[in-house]
Amino acid sequence: MSGDIRLRREFIATSLLLLVLALLPLAMRDVYWLGVLVVSAYFAILASSWNLLAGFTGQFSLAPAAFAMIGAYGAALSAAYYNVPPLIGLLIGTVSAGLIGLVLGRIVMRLRGPYLALTTLSFAEIVRLVASNSINITRGDLGLPLEPWFNDRVIWFYVFLSALTFVICGLYLLLRSQAGLFLEAIRDDEIAAARSGVRIVFWKTAAFAISSAAAGFAGALYAYFASLVTPELGLVQQTGLVVSMTVIGGMGSLIGPVVGAFLVYVTSEWLRDVGGWQLVIFAALVIVFARLFRAGLWGLVITALAPRRKLA
């Protein structure tokens, strides 16, 4: 099966999933669970943007949470010091994360595997340490408060869902275009791709910048939702969550990170009252999937459906 058809199938499946989610408030108006879905959508954007790097380009960054934090602080700092309205704050957060991503992506271009992972992890830790220790500017661990954009949970839910839809459509268009082919060529064999004329530096850096901007966008949006920005957003554990969601859902597919994010986050809220073993279970799942089945849950679904298709 060609990559194009596969991608279209994933896009259709994702669209269906988003449609089902969009209809949810008709049946359920519980403020708390809407909040849970909002956070899930936040993670779905982060996981999808990380998947563009890790799943489609083979760049294993460990900094998605750091970029979300940069986006959040971009919005919160501009609001706190220049009284910027939310839409502009959102733009500032997204652009600052994108620009920093552009620079970092260009710098780490040559690095692969463990070297890339170490560099991005160090970058993430530096950004977080600076945010939490620059007390005079960021108020450190206490966090920067923000005026919430609006309070209605249903509105927030649709705002996040639209943001997620926007990101998914953007990714789909990007991957469907020639750029998608180039990125996959780079992932599978960088040297061969270069030999056949793919502009490696350009595409890898672009992927890094786009992914960072998307993470920053999610972070800035989240800042207005939570109305408090703390360095915690950039903790390595948050990146761990993003990686887990992507791996469990299915790396390198458009739908995997979205399924993974909603499944992991909603389930862990749901299991919250039964002792909180959910993180243990999810971490174990990550190892099991990584060890035995790289394509994740989505891959399992495809395999399960495949024989029936042949019969029909």
């Binding site: 519980d30 669970w33 909040g35 007390i135 661990d141 206490l142 408060p145 109305s227 408090l228 703390t230």
Partner: protein, 403 residues
């Protein structure tokens, strides 16, 4: 069988039936946010949680409030503002609690009370000392506990009495730490402008404070002030002692955070604790209402630990809220806030009222009792430590033991 015993049995039967009917009724849910895992202070969180549970049980054994049992819904914040915010959000929207109590960390109060304010739900601050909490002027927030300005004044007076010329404080990087360290500086400027004072901000997640402490070794100050909480405070205190800075013949160690009544204090501190001067919000030698003994005994029975300040602060937080529910005869937010403002209730530490002045006094119980005591032996119980400052009196240097 005597008449009296008949009466007792009848009374007993009546009260159990009352209690049983209370249990059958719809419970009144009270939200609790406490730290149950690091990096926040689990020890504080556990003291508060135990204290609240003791009081909730006492209330329910007496038939509950308005004939309904009190149910505590407890959430862990890990001492992180973001988690505290989410926890209060969850308690109000999912569990539909009538009020929030228990928070023991300023940064978390500041994050959580925003949510309570947005949903207009009463928020009883159990142990957030930062003045900023009061200065916000939120009508839902009430403070039956200590405030930074009061410690700052107490510390400044004590430091002056100690005859210090040079003072260094170590503050943790939180609203509490930085706020109090700054406050002590401001108070010192008013009461003793000749004293040179500075503070270093330390990261409470760090494991080693030596680089901040070593420069003091060559040129030790007269007083080192602790404005940090465990576990970071223990590491800092041990290292300050290890480097021979304080407590020493030259330098006093003044503990503005009141660490010595923590249950794990002597598991973590040895020689570094001897000769420590402690700002104390509770001391067994302080005068206290009857209720304090009842609550303290129930606490000791439940946990095996001695009563402590956080127990009483937690107890009063819940009692103030239930008192307001009783007087308002309702759990509606507006009625509750109104009733809380009119509070005149004798809890475990004295008669609690809330000021209506703005600024750091807003919705604050102004006359929080406190003492200063000195730890004179390694492993000493708080009850055995001598008071060097009685409530309402200045520190008495003649009572001090010199290292």
């Amino acid at each position: 069988m005597t008449y009296a015993s008949h009466l007792t049995i009848a009374a007993f039967a009546f009260s159990t039936s009352l209690a049983a009917s209370a249990c059958a009724a719809d419970p009144i849910k009270v939200g609790v946010t406490v730290t149950q895992s690091p990096p926040g202070s689990v020890v504080q969180g556990t003291q508060v949680k135990d204290g609240l549970e003791v009081v909730a049980k006492m209330l329910n054994d007496q038939g509950g409030v308005l004939g309904r049992p009190i149910e505590l819904v407890i959430e862990d914040t890990q001492g992180l503002p973001e988690k505290a915010r989410a926890a209060v959000e969850k308690l109000i929207t999912r569990d539909k609690v009538v009020g929030i109590v228990g928070e023991h960390q300023s940064s978390n109060v500041l994050a959580g009370m925003e949510v309570a304010h947005r949903y207009h739900i009463p928020y009883i601050n159990t142990n957030g000392w930062a003045d900023a909490i009061r200065e916000k002027g939120y009508p839902e927030v009430f403070n039956p506990n200590n405030y930074n300005r009061r410690v700052a004044m107490a510390a400044a007076e004590s430091i002056k009495k100690l005859g210090a010329k040079k003072v260094v404080a170590f503050a943790e990087n939180t609203d509490y730490g930085i706020g109090l360290a700054k406050g002590i500086g401001e108070q010192l400027k008013t009461v003793a402008p000749e004293i040179s004072y500075r503070f270093d901000t330390l990261d409470r997640a760090a494991k080693d404070y030596l680089p901040a402490i070593l420069p003091l070794r060559a040129d030790p100050p007269d007083v080192v002030v602790d404005v940090m909480l465990p576990p970071a405070a223990y590491i800092m205190m041990n290292q300050v002692y290890e480097q021979g800075v304080a407590p020493s013949a030259k330098t006093w160690f003044y503990d503005a955070s009141g660490l010595a009544d923590y249950p794990d204090f002597w598991q973590n501190i040895k020689e570094a604790g001897k000769d420590l001067l402690v700002f104390g919000l509770y001391h067994p030698k302080m005068k206290a209402p009857e209720l304090a003994k009842t609550v303290g005994d129930a606490y000791t029975k439940k946990t095996g630990a001695q009563p402590n300040r956080l127990l009483y602060q937690a107890a009063d937080s819940l009692l103030v809220l239930t008192d307001a529910i009783k007087r308002a005869n309702s759990t509606e937010p507006d009625a509750l806030v109104k009733a809380l403002e009119a509070t005149k209730y004798t809890g475990t530490r004295g008669e609690i009222t809330f000021s209506n002045e703005s600024g750091y006094k807003f919705h604050q119980w102004l006359d929080i009792p406190y003492v200063t005591f000195q730890v004179t032996e390694i492993g000493q119980k708080v009850a055995d430590s001598p008071l060097v400052e009685q409530p309402g009196q200045p520190l008495d240097p003649s009572k001090l033991a010199h290292p």
